[in-house]
Amino acid sequence: MSNSSANFIQSSLGKKLLMGLTGLFLISFLVVHATLNSFIFAMDGGDLFNQGAHFMATNPIIRIMEIVLFIGIILHIVQALVLTLKNQKARPVKYAVNDGKANSKWYSRSMGILGSLLLMFLVIHLSHFWVGTKAAQFGGTIDEHNTYIEIIEVFHNPLIVLVYLLGVISLGYHLAHGFQSSFQTLGLNHPKYTPLVKLAGLWFSILITIVFAAMPISVYFGIVK
């Protein structure tokens, strides 16, 4: 039995399942993140947004989920690396001519590059906001920590705004393939529902991109003060 479970985890389909499940879990986090971000548009000088940020920084369940989230991200990345290395080994000699655009979307073939861009963006993003919140948590100053002022300051820099926009666009394309792909990996393919899943995935990616891009843009242009 245990041997059989080990075989399952090490199998191609077991690895794919883990990619799909962690991907979907990370998508659920994005929904929460985007919702809280949109609190800046309450136009109340950041009161609602700071309440949300404070809740996320202090609620014990959210604290546990933060650890689960990091585990999810690490599993997703490690599994992606393992699968990518295996996939590259599966074709040691490349084609001289390969017309990929004839049969698939560019972003479906570029999940590794998009994911790597996302990882780089994630490091920058965490250094901007997560590190500060963590310092406040462990320093005992979380009650005075003002995330709203932090975002106003960070998004004053046009270069940072540009980096965030590129990060968010990478995320959008990563999701445009990843959302519907995870359903297929989980074996959820149905002639009636798969077109709906694909459509939902596309609109979800567009919506997430817009909501995340809205924050740096509106702060930079002074729409949100």
Binding site: S4, S12, Y95, S104, S108
Partner: protein, 252 residues
């Protein structure tokens, strides 16, 4: 040159054997009829080469009517060339224009080593089939029709999966050299029928294990295989294989 005939430049992969590295070699061909099949154009070229005392180009072919799955050629970056739903033998030269340059390469996958020129060893597929692509009963005489009731949609889906000719275009076009469209079709054609359900659990586990063993890559759902499959095998089969595999691993 008769009316409508074409002059083309072919760049064809030449490789002596599985040990030596190959290269693309340029061959001009003249006066090619648009009504020739792609393989007939190769026959013409090979005859020229033989007459000149050169080694003809080795390529796989058998039935030349689109059902054997042998004619593995990666033409201008696509398996079986630019047309959908055809094998190389069903590809006609009218799909190209006078003066075109056409690059022809063998299937590229670690699991499909090149034997010579454009021929590759696809016995990895046979070894996957040998792990469970069958039903282990002595069937005896044919049963009466409708002895085992099978819903028409199931019979149709099974038949559509069974249309797979094992040509390997899915592996060839997949950015990961994944064989999952092939394996899932071979699992689905049996999993959908009551006779195939008996061994469904062991079949999916053994065939997936052999697929991994052969060194095929992992599906990332780009959907390229479905587009390039000459028999239109659907991605639904891969989802079905995933389901079958997960359930099989929960059960035992």
């Amino acid at each position: 040159m008769s009316h409508g005939n074409m002059n083309l430049t072919l760049k064809i992969w030449r490789q002596k054997n599985d040990k030596e590295t190959g290269k693309l070699v340029t061959y001009p061909v003249k006066d090619i009829s648009p009504d020739m099949s792609f393989l007939e154009m190769f026959d013409v070229l090979n005859e020229e080469l033989i007459n000149k005392g050169e080694e003809p180009i080795a390529f796989d072919h058998d039935c030349r009517e689109g059902i054997c799955g042998m004619c593995s050629m990666f033409i201008n970056g696509r398996p079986h060339g630019p047309k959908r739903g055809v094998t190389t033998c069903q590809l006609h030269m009218r799909s190209f224009k006078n003066g075109d340059t056409i690059v022809v390469e063998p299937w590229r996958a670690a699991a499909f080593p090149v034997i010579k020129d454009l021929t590759v060893d696809r016995s990895a597929f046979d070894r996957i089939i040998a792990k469970g692509g069958f039903i282990s009963v002595n069937t005896g005489n044919a049963q009466d029709a409708n002895n085992i009731p099978i819903p028409k949609p199931d019979a149709d889906a099974s038949f559509e999966a069974a249309a797979c000719i094992g040509c390997g275009a899915c592996v060839a076009t997949c950015k990961n050299s994944s064989a999952m469209l092939f394996v899932s079709a071979k699992i689905s054609q049996l999993a959908l029928l009551p006779q195939g359900r008996v061994e469904a659990t062991t079949r999916v586990k053994n065939m997936v294990a052999q697929m991994d063993e052969e060194g095929f890559g992992n599906c990332t759902n780009t959907g390229a295989c479905e587009i390039e499959c000459p028999k239109g095998i659907s991605l639904e089969n891969i989802a079905r294989m995933n389901r079958e595999y997960f359930v099989a691993n929960i059960k035992s």
